[in-house]
């Protein structure tokens, strides 16, 4: 029998650690790509060793200038962005950004993309030998310039092809990030699972648009942009629920998470971990609060291991 102290200890320190494709996370909370820079930007506001992983801004083979401004527009309970994947390029990342991350005792997951199939492959290759990179996250929500701009992630065949190629070029844990702008996300999910993905993150932004009625111009220079923030959460929760039932690999839930309660919705419908995006802008300490809130919830509910929550939805 346990004595009081032991019981109290057990109650007060639930296990929060989870594994994603062999990456050990101290807790299931990490930033969403593109909302956390290269990690450094938030180091003064947040203990980078208090979150589960660090995910970088999406990298491409060459540095990329992105779109003209305005690149962001606030909408009701959301924001549109059309940054256009501006980034320093994979080589500059390794040279200038990685050294900072090397000193942080938290797994680094590198998000990347390509404009062509070949580019995806090449970036994967460059990352394959870098020991500080714990895993990669493949963003397939980009238009395939060779195929007339059709987005890789909206065509299950193209998605499968790009995942298979990247899989060949890298042996590190491979997470594939799905776009929600599809008729049936389980089709893409199964396609990337079959092509060798170790995990899925879901969702990227929903394509949206806003107009300034006085000037009659789009509020983004790019006309359309990606909608993120709490407005999209119900859609993200639904998709994570669907995907978690459709595949065997772990799912990372993303979309509109602002508080611990929101993160818990994703875990309950089947996510093994979550990513926090727009909330970082609103509160740079958001992830720390979410980790603390999940822990508190587990204690209140007598849950000794956060993994008990995963997929615990009662329907």
């Amino acid at each position: 029998m346990m004595n009081c102290r032991e019981e109290k200890n057990k109650r007060s320190a639930p296990n929060l650690a989870v594994d994603i494709a062999g990456i050990h996370l101290r807790n299931p909370v990490m930033p969403a790509s593109g909302t956390f820079g290269y990690g450094e930007e938030y180091a003064t506001y947040l203990d980078l060793e208090g979150i589960g992983a660090i995910i970088t801004k999406g990298l491409s083979l060459k540095p990329k200038a992105g779109n003209p401004t305005p690149r962001i527009a606030e909408t009701i309970s959301g924001m549109l962005n059309a940054i256009g994947l501006q980034n320093v390029g994979v080589d500059a990342f390794i040279k200038y950004k990685l050294p900072f991350l090397r000193e942080i005792n938290t797994p680094v997951i590198v998000n990347f993309f390509g404009n062509t199939l070949e580019e995806y492959g090449e970036v994967a290759e460059r990352l394959s030998d870098i020991p500080e990179v714990a895993g990669v996250e493949l963003n397939i929500s980009c238009p395939n310039v060779k195929k007339g701009g059709i987005v890789f992630g909206t065509d299950p065949r193209a998605a499968s092809e790009v995942v298979a190629l990247v899989r060949k070029n890298i042996s590190k844990p491979l997470i594939v990030k799905l776009t929600p702008n599809v008729t049936d996300i389980t089709v893409t999910a199964r396609a990337v699972e079959d092509a060798g993905a170790d995990a899925i993150s879901c969702i990227n932004t929903l394509t949206g648009m806003a107009v300034d009625v006085r000037t009659r111009r789009p509020r983004l220079a790019n006309t359309t942009g990606g909608l993120s923030g709490p407005a999209i959460r119900p859609i993200a929760v639904r998709m994570v629920h669907q995907v978690a039932q459709a595949v065997k690999i772990p799912v990372i839930g993303v979309g509109g998470i602002m508080r611990a309660m929101d993160a818990l919705e994703f875990l309950i419908v089947g996510a093994t971990a979550v990513q926090v995006g727009t909330a970082n802008f609103v509160d740079p300490g958001a992830m720390a609060g979410i980790v603390a809130g999940i822990e508190e919830f587990c204690i209140e509910e007598g849950i000794s291991d956060v993994r008990e929550l995963i997929g615990s939805l009662e329907v």
Binding site: T35, G37, K57, G66, E74, R214, T278, V282
Partner: protein, 285 residues
């Protein structure tokens, strides 16, 4: 740099549509420099979703209460109500809980002591110039050229004068000071003080006009820019401006939040500074 979860000490309208807010911010003065800014939000409030950027007008201390506690250090903002976020701000009262993230960005380079300094402010652009003037007047002769649409847009002039700043006011409609553009005054002053360093903050067309005056003369110019911002810390890349060397291959994009908001004029690609479209009131919701 810190996220202050704090509260409003006072908030009042100082001219039609312009407000001044004091926020409790212990230790803020020590870490902030003229020209830096903060990202503001009302605690627990959605909407608006995102924080709003504001320059630092000044920091100061409230006289100690009769309760004998130490004086309260405050951060003072001066803002113009233009949309939803600033509308909500204008309704705040003493004790309301707010958050300020800051100080953020790079401030002004205060240059050489003794050097003549000319500040050029357009409308609400005077904000960072005031904290700059507080610093510059310690060692230099400072002149302020202040422009606005009407007399209501000319703020805090007496406060500048109290620092010993020589102030020249111009308004588009002549309702206060000289009628016309602040740049006319700048031409004259630079003729008289050709070695002065210029610091400017205001709408982009004004900054461009100031640049066009300073560049051929080789006058040192620092400008403080505005941009739509989501994060304020260099993470979202929403606020970029094109740097001087800008080209397709070498984009040279600078974050207004992190590498700015103050730039030396020669850092920027003036022919390619995009103007943020003028959104109508309330559309940003």
């Amino acid at each position: 740099m810190k996220n202050y979860k704090t509260m409003v000490l006072s908030n009042q309208e100082i001219s039609p549509g312009y407000h001044r807010m004091r926020i409790l911010a212990p230790g803020f003065d020590e870490i902030s420099r003229p020209g830096q800014f903060v990202m503001f939000r009302v605690q627990m409030s959605l909407p608006p979703l995102l924080r709003r950027p504001f320059g630092i007008f000044r920091t100061g201390f409230l006289p100690p209460d009769c309760d004998g506690l130490p004086p309260k250090e405050y951060l003072e903002l001066l803002y113009k109500v233009v949309g939803r976020g600033t509308g909500i701000m204008s309704d705040l009262h003493e004790g309301d809980r707010v958050e300020v993230l800051g100080p953020l960005g790079k401030g002004f380079d205060t240059g050489n002591p003794g050097e003549e300094k000319i500040l050029v402010g357009g409308g609400i652009g005077l904000v960072p110039l005031f904290s700059l003037a507080l610093e510059l007047t310690k060692t230099s002769k400072v002149r302020l050229l202040m422009g606005g649409r009407t007399r209501d847009d000319i703020l805090a002039v007496t406060e500048f004068e109290r620092l010993g700043v020589e102030t020249y006011v111009s308004t588009d409609d002549g309702s206060l000071g000289e009628e016309g553009m602040v740049t006319q005054v700048l031409q004259r002053k630079l003729d008289k003080y050709p070695h002065a360093a210029v610091y400017a903050c205001g709408p982009l067309p004004m900054l461009r006009a100031v640049h066009d005056i300073c560049a051929p003369r080789g006058t040192s110019l620092q400008v403080s820019l505005e941009a739509l911002m989501a994060c304020g810390v260099g993470a979202c890349l929403g606020c970029v401006v094109k740097g001087r060397g800008h080209s397709e291959e070498n984009p040279q994009l600078l974050c207004t939040c992190k590498e700015g908001p103050v730039f030396r004029a020669e850092q920027l690609d003036w022919s390619n500074l995009e103007k943020e479209p003028d959104y109508c009131e309330g559309c940003a919701s």
